[in-house]
Amino acid sequence: MIKLGVPSKGRLMDKTFEWFQARGVRLGKAGSERDYAGLVDGIAGVDLVLLSAGEIPLELAAGRLHLGVTGSDLVLEKIANWGSRIDLLAGLGFGGANLVIAVPQLWVDVDTLDDLDAAAAAFRSAHGFRLRIATKYHRLVREFLRTGGVADYQLIDSQGATEGTVRSETAEAIADITSTGETLRANGLKVLADGLIHASQATLFESRAADLDDADQATLATLKDMLGV
């Protein structure tokens, strides 16, 4: 059986079901709204696995799913060297959001990474510790700031309500997902001009680690053909 992982609830699930339906593959929940067993119509030999979007990257990397739909930000953040374990098949055109660096609007002197670095150096000498950036995307942010040549900062883990960490003085800046920037502005923050770390969207991925027998290979080829990927 080909195992296809799809987010188990919300808009991401509904839109994914629509995307597959438009290509002749009907996905659905087996029973009630609370049931996480899945149904597949339109192709035989495919098993729908409904699970949290955040778990899909690791399941793909481990080869327990053949295919999976999840945000590209989650794969890039959670799987080191992801390209060696997972193939990107197609962006699905929804679930778009940007991972960005945002700083207080008060910082009229900070518009670029270059400014952020200079502000971080001055902050460290004034306060005796490194400028704190709150995020849950540690790997992506660290790589981005290293490439951008920003030093003298530290990452603070924030798993939710990250936009509020500056006001509560647990961080000086943030790196978070935003779609319209509305929440950032409401919290007195602005996005750096060159602060786009990753433009994420719902994406169909294929595992390079999952086992395939002959029947699976034929099923996978048919499915990919139907999906046009």
Partner: protein
């Protein structure tokens, strides 16, 4: 897992450094993370394993021995002092999965405030002897000369500090140098900010620890910078000449003496290089053929601030350096709470020595 051959090699190297007068020391594998984070910044978190202890907070699996050995030394007042250590270090490898995450290091650290040139030569010679007979090539460099060259630029202290801060990030260093040299334009938003009579007029709510006064101070710094003359093309050319040096030590020394005529600030550092080469010669090192690279050591962890060196295997281009070392006076000042002790040290990786020795 450490192979018996690597363990035997580590024991041989330890005995070698002990015979050179070093006291064997040990350090805990679990180190408090805050010291290392404060020194190296976030980059160390990408390279070291971090774990949490319910009482002690964040701890790190030792990514190297230098920091704990320096801390231990700073408790004593011994000068000179020589130490050797051997044991595993731990490094995350999230780009190249074939690289080991746990490997042995055998090190030699010399704290000697009296004769730094001789201490540099002693550490280099001792490592060279330990690797005798292996197909390795030594490369040397001197971060102190680069620092002196930046300090010698005819520009503001703020620019020099910015350049010194990024000496270890060659791309960022170059971008700054281009901007300070007037080779790249200011961003439009910067020009608009500086032209604004009341830049803080439309600022958002005052939130966070970075205060409005700090923002104003930076704007003042930016205004000073905009008013300062660009670093001259001649001076940038001199800096580039130093960075692109790739020659044997005697040639480099003579080139640097020429450069010092136009850039007198590097003279003391060049004199130190000359003294070091003499001391190395006295210990039997063939300095006539020893390689020197002006940029060597710039991509390493940012604590070396003088002599730097490494031994690599030219026939095994994929292999990391078998041994690396250098002088780190500034690190002892940071860890010694004001008290600095000139220090130079090196580490050898026994697994790589074994790999080079095996016929395959």
């Amino acid at each position: 897992m450490t192979s018996p051959a690597a363990k035997a090699e580590a024991a041989r190297l330890s005995a070698h450094f002990t015979a050179a007068g070093a006291i064997p020391v040990e350090t805990p594998i679990l180190q408090p993370a805050d010291t290392l984070l404060d020194l190296y910044g976030e980059d160390i978190r990408a390279r070291a394993y971090v774990t949490t202890d319910p009482l002690r907070g964040e701890m790190m699996l030792r990514p190297d021995f230098t920091v704990p050995v320096v801390q231990m030394h700073m408790q004593t007042r011994a000068d000179p002092a020589r130490y050797t250590y051997a044991g595993p270090v731990f490094r995350k490898q999230d780009v190249d999965e074939t690289r080991p995450t746990e490997y042995l290091q055998v090190g030699f650290e010399v704290f000697d405030g009296q004769t730094p040139a001789r201490a540099d030569a002693e550490v280099f010679a001792s490592v060279a002897q330990a690797l005798h007979g292996l197909p390795v090539k030594a490369v040397t460099g001197d971060i102190g000369i680069l620092m002196a060259a930046v300090q010698g630029l005819d520009t503001t202290q703020a620019r020099k500090s910015a350049l010194l801060r990024h000496l270890w990030r060659p791309r960022r260093f170059r971008a700054l140098l281009d901007r300070f040299g007037g080779r790249t334009d200011q961003p439009l938003t910067r020009i608009a900010l500086l032209a604004d009579a009341d830049p803080l007029g439309g600022a958002g709510p005052e939130i966070g620890l970075r205060s409005m006064a700090e923002v104003s101070r930076r704007i003042a710094t930016l205004r000073e910078d905009a008013a300062a003359a660009p670093i001259s093309g001649d001076q940038i050319a001199l800096l580039d000449a130093i960075l692109s040096l790739r020659e044997t030590c005697p040639h480099v020394l003579s080139n640097l003496r020429d450069i010092a005529v136009d850039m007198p600030a590097i003279k003391p550092a060049v004199t130190r290089l000359a003294a070091r080469l003499e001391a190395m010669d006295a210990l039997g090192i063939a300095v006539e053929t020893l390689a020197f690279e002006g940029s060597y050591g710039r991509s390493s962890l940012e604590y070396y601030d003088g002599f730097v060196f490494g031994f690599t295997a030219p026939d095994h281009p994929g292999l990391p350096p078998v041994a690396t070392g250098g002088r780190y006076d500034a690190l002892t000042a940071v860890l010694g709470q004001g008290r600095a002790v000139p220090a130079v040290g090196a580490v050898i990786r026994p697994e790589l020595v074994v790999a080079l020795r095996s016929p395959s």
